[in-house]
């Protein structure tokens, strides 16, 4: 399954300063959900300490997760089942001005 991972708002600094990653997820008996995708991203793409990206089973506070340009809360958050060609975006909430 192929998905696009996008980063913005500074979150890209955790991923080698690369804002877009085209990813092929390994085959799995179980469906890929956000709950399984997040640790996979942490273990395979993240280039910084894990706790800068995740806290417990979810993303750390300050990171907003989007599925196909919509808030992941609308898609079921961790329960969302990933589909082929999905665009998953992680945006750091900005505070500057």
């Amino acid at each position: 399954m192929n998905i696009t991972i996008e980063l913005a708002g500074g979150a890209e600094l955790l991923f080698g300063n690369q804002r877009k990653h085209e990813v092929t997820l390994p085959e799995s008996d179980k469906q890929w959900t956000m709950a399984t995708l997040l640790p996979w991203i942490r273990d395979n793409l993240l280039q910084e300490r894990g706790e800068l990206f995740m806290q417990g089973k979810s993303v750390r506070p300050g990171i907003l997760v989007l599925v196909n340009d919509a808030d992941w809360e609308l898609a079921g958050e961790l329960d969302y089942v990933i589909e082929n060609k999905d665009n998953i975006m992680f945006i750091s909430t900005l505070h500057g001005g």
Binding site: A8, L52, P61, G62, S92, L94, H95, G96, G97
Partner: protein, 281 residues
């Protein structure tokens, strides 16, 4: 000559004519702007363009909050201030420029650092608030006060080469805490002092905030409530993201709020407005 009774004078109609003929504004919309009071919190990179366009558009009253003086390092982005205002209080500089742009606007100075003891009394005097600040602590303060006082909040943020804009607490929509229930660890937060920011990116964000304020005040509708507008001019990316609705369990705007007055935001965020945050890595 006016055949419809209006509070607008002929010079005002001449001045605002090009915006009044835009669908959704019109004479009623322009009158709506004239009787509105907007609070701009922060006269930095976002407050400068947003207050400029709102003054130019004929918003009747602008409240201006800042406690800082103009510095040379501000000038690449804080476009109300020019070289001769270096060392001048930002509120004074803003009032001078905004008055020169539009004498019809009432400009109310608030030369303070917005905090838990003054925020409610300041915000309650206004119809709409623009968050043009630069730190999480103040953003949570402003949000909570807007919810407590039932004020709409048009919030902008910018850093490096991108910006984010949304409208909170609009007709039952989400508030800032609905989207960001927990503040980030200050250890992981970049800010303008460390990370830098491009001037025109802040111009985009501040202008988007002003456009939304005009829409709300002139036409009683919002363009960004429930959306997060993302602009990254450096990468040529622009998106409008659909956000979650109001959270029923939100601690300030939910069905059973536990935040019923301003809290200790410094403690909540783990930091004050000290801009010396450590870098993310």
């Amino acid at each position: 000559t006016n055949v419809v009774p209006t509070t607008l004078t002929n010079p005002e109609i001449l001045r605002y004519g090009r915006q009044m003929i835009v669908d959704g504004v019109g004479l009623p919309g322009q009158e709506g702007l004239k009787k509105s009071k907007v609070l701009i919190v922060g006269l930095g990179a976002l407050g400068c363009p947003s207050s400029h366009y709102l003054a130019a558009a004929g918003v009747g009253t602008l409240g201006l909050v800042d406690d800082d003086v103009v510095d040379a390092s501000n000038l690449h982005r804080q476009i109300l201030h020019s070289e001769k205002e270096i060392g001048v209080h930002k509120v004074d500089s803003a009032i001078s420029r905004l008055h020169a742009v539009n004498q019809h606007v009432s400009l109310i100075p608030h030369k303070v650092d917005l905090n838990a003891s003054n925020a409610l009394s300041i915000i309650q005097q206004y119809d709409l608030v623009l968050d043009c600040t630069d730190n999480a602590t103040t953003r949570y303060l402003i949000n909570d006060c807007c919810v407590l006082l039932n004020k709409v909040l048009v919030s902008g943020a910018a850093l490096r080469f991108e910006g984010q804009v949304s409208t909170y607490n609009y007709k039952g929509g989400p508030c800032y805490r609905c989207i960001n229930p927990s503040p980030p660890d200050p250890e992981t937060t970049l800010n303008c002092f460390e990370a830098g920011v491009l001037g025109p990116v802040t111009g985009v964000v501040g202008s988007l905030q002003a456009a939304e304020a005009i829409k709300i005040l002139a036409s009683d509708e919002s363009a960004y409530a429930g959306k997060l507008m993302l602009v990254c001019p450096w990468d040529g990316i622009m998106k409008a993201i659909k956000l979650r609705p109001r959270r029923k369990d939100c601690v300030v705007c939910g069905d059973n709020p536990t935040v019923t007055s301003p809290i200790d935001y410094v403690k909540f965020c783990g930091s004050g407005k000290n801009k010396q945050y450590s870098n993310a890595s």
